[in-house]
Symmetry: C2
Subunit: 194 residues, 2 copies
DNA sequence: GTTTTATTATACCGTTCGGTATATTTATAG
DNA sequence: CTATAAATATACCGAACGGTATAATAAAAC
């Protein structure tokens, strides 16, 4: 990793939280120079434009989440416990190195769906990939005899994701932690009922 | 309603969809003059600043939703059917005069939670009010004998809202209508299990 | 150690931003 | 019909926007 790559990485690391909090249009080049301590010239020497930084920041923020999830998934043995990882991670997201500003998928999806095709595509890919992982866990749990054969994997996956994302929105908005716990309990019940 | 009030209303009606699609920071005064055909002077003769327009637009967009919901609620007799109104309205939101740009609560919540306290407060109030309405329906349904006495009204209300909002996000992002239907089916099952 | 290359800082570009003072037009009242 | 008040348009403000050419600096290669 040469100097240029290190600086690119540094810029992404420092601006990623800003993009996740303020959004794409809400984050200015001044925000970016403040966050990094670098000048505009330095940033544009490493990235073509603001878009490229934003896209890299989304990847960075998303990877933070997927890394946590993957690590916790590996710790669990049963597929039920693996599914419950999503509940426990989001319930205690403060215990993990979670992106500042909340879920990058939710933030990007709601801002970019009508305005920014490239970011929208990245958010879409993230959702579809997430859905695929959950469906895979469910199918394997069915093969394994853990879950009933008549469980609808896609429906369960989509409902889990929807509830979790809605939960994040409500909890962050209202600031009520017991709201988050209550909703996550519902997801837990759902997983335990498979 | 004099001319000034009519113009204020007109400005809100024409800019509300823009704010809901592009967000607060994403909507410029030029967007507003384009949407209305008025000049900046006209808009600022009727509103103190961009903030005031944005807040009025949120109220306008939210009222569109609550009006639809209230009308459909009145059509139903049982409390179970009233709860299912949320499922059917969001499932067929194209059949109703739904705000362009999607759910204003979701859009405002994710943009404003870290950046705009006044808008954040409005979104928070909307969520808490929504929760209150659902809880009220559930409690009355319990008194009525429609629902089991051991139903947790708050948990059910919060989970319904979270799942619906997450559903809107996923459906709008991916463009897959069957995703929306599938998730809403889960909410329907939940209501039918009360 | 010098030259070449990569990286960062400076200074500036034109444009758009939110906002405003003032002039002009339109509606209302006497 | 005229005087007054309300509403709208024009023209402009300073500041911040995203972006860039170039100069200065630091790193790498020979």
């Amino acid at each position: 990793m040469n100097k240029a790559e290190k600086t690119k990485q540094f810029i992404v690391e420092m601006t990623a939280p800003v993009f996740n909090e303020k959004g794409y249009t809400g984050t200015s080049l001044t925000d970016m120079t403040n966050a990094t301590g670098l000048t505009k010239g330095s940033i544009y020497g490493n990235f073509a434009n603001k878009d490229e930084v934003a896209l890299a920041c989304f990847d960075y923020n998303l990877k933070k989440v997927t890394t946590i999830i993957r690590q916790e998934l590996d710790k669990q043995k049963t597929y039920r416990d693996k599914l419950l990882v999503y509940v426990h991670v989001y319930e205690n997201f403060l215990k993990h190195p979670f992106p500042i500003g909340g879920c990058p998928i939710l933030n990007t999806a709601t801002e970019a769906d009508d305005t920014h095709p490239l970011l929208k595509q990245k958010a879409t890919d993230a959702i579809l990939s997430w859905k695929g992982v959950i469906m895979d866990l469910i199918e394997k749990g069915k093969d394994n005899g853990e879950f009933s054969e008549d469980v609808n994997a896609e429906q369960t996956a989509l409902t889990m994701i929807a509830t979790i994302e809605g939960c994040i929105m409500i909890a962050k908005l209202t600031g009520k932690m017991n709201y988050r716990n209550t909703i996550m309990q519902s997801v837990e019940k759902m997983v335990n009922g498979l």
